[in-house]
Amino acid sequence: MTTPRELKYTKSHEWVKAEPDGTVTVGITFHAQEQLGDVVFIQPPEVGRRLKQGDECAVIESVKAAADLYAPVSGEVVAVNQEVSDKPERVNQDPYAAWMFRLKPSAPAELETLLDAAGYEKVAAEDKH
């Protein structure tokens, strides 16, 4: 699967989508879900929580292991994707459509610090095991 060019990425395997209304949605990459295996639980951050870039903010439990998600940018959690929380297998089936939470960025300049698709592909290649 190719890494979607229009998204931004973190070294910790989250993808970030800039939405038209200025918010960003966050999910995990194809590589991340492949390493995790079948996802069985998602614990998203609570709506209203204020995060700083890099904060641990969510947990994904798979059959194999638990993984933490980190806030890709600072901001307030304005929504959680209930459909994906209820059906965690969506993360394996369609990782780039299965957004987990939505943030209203408090420091939009941070978006520039994220990786582009090519930069992320290098990270993913080094992480393969």
Partner: protein, 362 residues
């Protein structure tokens, strides 16, 4: 760079061709899954799946002194087997009563027995068994020339007959924990999933052909990930997690496998009879959201314990676990420390699932 290259079963190429995610298990390159271990689990519970378990080792023990040797070696009594082809589940104990391995022993008739040993303990077991042999006329032969396929599920036997028609006549009427031999294959109605099915020990050179025939008959390939969630639901222990040399069968829910009814001297007997166990195996079903995993701490009215095996149960759709807890009649609730939080769990008696049915009250 590989310092110690992984061993491969005769089906390694077949797994890779199916797109399996291969992992190191006990020094063997084995398929973890072929896409989704949850789907493979469900295929076994609802129809049929096939596992390559050729990393396990068949060990033949033969000769006039074989039965007496096995009666001394194994905690369960091989003399209980009344019909050729019958199988026995037993622990192999050390002198301190600690578990060296769990295994199935098949009586093949006359003075021929076949043990099937776990992959991770095969070498240790063989060395131990050889060292305990006193009668040099007992022949002990590791059978690395055999592959092992486990076909499991409510439709497993039917699919096996469809794929391998020559096995039907010999195996159609065998009961649970019995086996028959046909065409160089030993076919046993045993398994590690809590479903019906066969385990087939067959020459390595015909394994790929049999595997392909089973897949053509619609049996789903299933990997070690599904094998683990299935056996956990089935309440079956995993050596190295739920039991090891530091515990006796009484602390692992395996009192029923220790045959003390007759004055039979077996290795570990004196030790297990001398000390009363203080801990026991219980099942846990997590009430809160999360997944229980090995070594997480457990607390309950009787005291503190730990998870030996934990995971997600696809059939119950929540986390289940086996735990070692202080002995306490009537314990119903416990708390498990999962990633820093104490979560609520229900204490139950395993198995959680058998033949597709949930057996515990949720």
């Amino acid at each position: 760079m590989t310092a110690n290259a992984l061993r491969s079963t005769p089906l390694a190429d077949a797994h890779r061709a199916l797109g399996a995610r291969m992992v190191d298990f006990a020094g063997w390159e084995m398929p973890l899954h072929y896409g989704s271990q949850l789907e493979e689990h469900r295929a076994v519970r609802s129809a049929a799946g096939v596992f390559d378990v050729s990393h396990m080792l068949a060990l033949d023990v033969e000769g006039g002194g074989a039965q007496a040797f096995l009666r001394r070696l194994l905690a369960n009594d091989i003399a209980r087997l009344k019909t050729p082809g019958q199988a026995l589940y037993s622990c192999l104990l050390n002198e301190a009563g600690g578990i060296l391995d769990d295994l199935i022993a098949y009586w093949r008739g006359e003075s021929r027995f076949r043990l099937v040993l776990n992959a991770g303990t095969a070498e240790k077991d063989c060395a131990w068994i050889l060292s305990q042999r006193e009668d040099a006329s007992v022949r002990i032969s590791p059978r690395r020339d055999l592959a092992i396929l486990a076909v499991q599920g409510p439709r497993a036997r039917e699919k096996t007959w469809e794929a391998l028609p020559r096995t039907r006549a010999a195996t159609r009427t065998i009961g649970y924990f019995h086996s028959a031999e046909v065409d160089g294959m030993l076919i046993a109605r045993t398994g590690y999933t809590g479903e019906d099915g066969f385990e087939i020990l067959l020459p390595a050179e015909v394994a790929a052909g049999a595997w392909n025939s089973l897949l053509k008959a619609g049996v789903a390939p299933a990997g070690l990930g599904a094998r683990d969630t299935l056996r956990l639901e089935g309440g079956m222990n995993l050596y190295g997690q739920d039991m090891d040399e530091t515990v006796t069968p009484y602390e692992c829910g395996l009192a029923w496998t220790v045959a003390l009814g007759e004055p039979r001297a077996f290795i570990g007997r004196q030790a297990v009879e001398a000390k009363a166990p203080t801990r026991e195996r219980r099942g846990l079903v997590l009430i809160d959201k999360g997944v229980m995993r090995s070594h997480q701490q457990v607390r309950c009215a009787a005291g503190a314990g730990e998870i030996t095996s934990g995971g997600f149960s696809p059939t119950l759709n929540r986390s289940i676990a086996l735990a070692r807890l202080p002995r306490a009649a009537g314990a119903e609730e416990a708390e498990v420390e999962v990633r820093g939080n104490w979560l609520r769990a229900k204490v139950v008696e395993p198995p959680f699932v058998r033949h597709g049915k949930v057996l515990v009250n949720l």
